[in-house]
């Protein structure tokens, strides 16, 4: 799913139709509003304070410089999900991207997260990202299943690395997907090599 094929419509398991599209500047207010309406428990697992104008400005700047590829899900005019690919444009990890995904509670367990994350994985491979990472807390089982379906595997565990709203320390799980393997298979196919030849 290349960025050029967006927007597209996905039908959730309960029949609702949601539009997936690349973030436009005009969507930014809707995105901030989406984050402001998230329950605090959901916001606390995010790396940034996403309810501030400063965050929105910083975020948009990085979208403009392509350090972030941001996909939003809209139910009508309302943003109900955000999936972003974070990457560095220089240095020794420029082949690596990190996916961050947030879905409104009202739209979870309906296949939206899988559709958004799957779309980002395809965009990432199209722009040359070779390895994808996603961080999650040990008890985010739904997210873990979603990313496992997309080929992500547990790569590292940082024990007692995050502290939740009640003060409980939990393990942070880093899942990874070596997406370069997808195209390695194609590369093998075009080598025109067959061990048994006439």
């Amino acid at each position: 799913m290349a960025a050029s094929t967006l927007p597209r419509t996905v039908t959730l398991q309960d029949g609702r139709t949601i539009e997936l599209l690349m973030l436009e500047v005009s969507d930014c207010l809707g995105l901030v509003e989406f984050y402001r309406t998230l329950p605090e428990q959901d916001r606390e697992v995010l790396k940034d304070d996403v309810t501030t104008k400063e965050w929105a400005d910083r975020f948009l700047r990085k979208v403009a410089t392509k350090e972030i590829v941001c996909l939003v899900a809209k139910d009508g005019d309302k943003v109900v999900g955000e999936a972003s690919l974070y990457r560095t444009l220089h240095g020794w990890t420029k082949h690596v991207g990190e996916i961050r995904l947030t879905i409104a509670r009202s739209h979870r367990r309906q296949g939206l997260g899988l559709a958004m994350a799957g779309t980002l994985v395809k965009i990432a491979t199209d722009i040359g990202i070779e390895k994808l990472l996603v961080n999650m807390v040990e008890n985010q089982l739904g997210s873990r299943r979603t990313f496992e379906k997309l080929g992500f595997q547990k790569e590292a565990v940082l024990p007692r690395h995050v502290k939740d709203i009640s003060g409980t320390k939990r393990d942070l799980i880093i899942m990874a997907n070596d997406v370069s393997q997808i195209w390695a298979a194609m590369e093998t196919m075009v080598q025109d090599y067959q061990p048994h030849r006439d």
Binding site: M1, A2, T5, V121, K122, T125, D126, I127, G128, V179, I182, W183, A185, M186, E187, M189, V190, Q191, D192, Y193, Q194, R197, D198
Partner: protein, 185 residues
């Protein structure tokens, strides 16, 4: 479809065999025709001559080798030099125009159409899909197989996760072929 003999040639690593296989699969499995494929390699798998012979027909094919092709699909100068003398009079050459230079050896009455397939593949993001651009070009320029059949053949032939870019490459080649097919009339 009358019996059509096709010779594909290029370098190892360009995906010549996959290209031939998809054309054959498209005509047979997804197009209801008969097809055969014979492949040949140079001494090295990569960087040396590689070619394939495909026959498409409505009827059973008794002899699978191509001696005088109706169509040449060429992706290297060596392949051009080697196979152009075999082309039938009034045959068709589909060639990668940045890798093959035509000369006076083209048989009288033969037609040739080029495509910058490598450049298209690079513009799409991966040079690797050059062969799929050529598959699309073949389908679009000759009209021997339908879009639906070639689309199915590509989808079922490429690795999972690469379908989208491969289909874009196919469409790019197909549209270019359709656009330039008027040169063949």
């Amino acid at each position: 479809m009358a019996k059509t003999e096709i010779r594909l040639g290029g370098l190892g690593g360009q995906g010549v065999i996959l290209c031939a296989s998809i054309i054959g699969k498209c005509a047979s499995i997804f197009g209801g025709k008969q097809a055969t494929l014979i492949q040949a390699f140079g001494p090295e798998a990569r960087g040396s001559a590689c070619s394939a012979q495909v026959i498409l027909s409505d009827e059973a094919i008794g002899y699978p080798y191509v001696k005088t092709p109706d169509i040449l699909v060429l992706m290297s100068q060596d392949a051009y030099n080697q196979f152009i003398p075999q082309l039938k009079p009034e045959g068709l050459v589909l060639y990668e125009e940045e890798l093959v230079a035509l000369d006076g050896k083209l048989p009288k009455g033969a037609k040739a159409v080029g495509i910058p397939a490598t450049r298209f593949a690079e513009e799409l993001g991966r040079r690797l899909v050059l062969n799929i651009v050529m598959v699309g070009f073949f389908a679009g320029a000759t009209g021997l197989v339908s879009w639906e059949a070639i689309e199915q053949a590509v989808k079922s032939s490429v690795p999972k996760g690469t379908e989208e870019l491969n289909l874009k490459a196919l469409k790019k080649g197909y549209d270019y072929g359709r656009e330039h097919s008027t040169q063949l009339k």
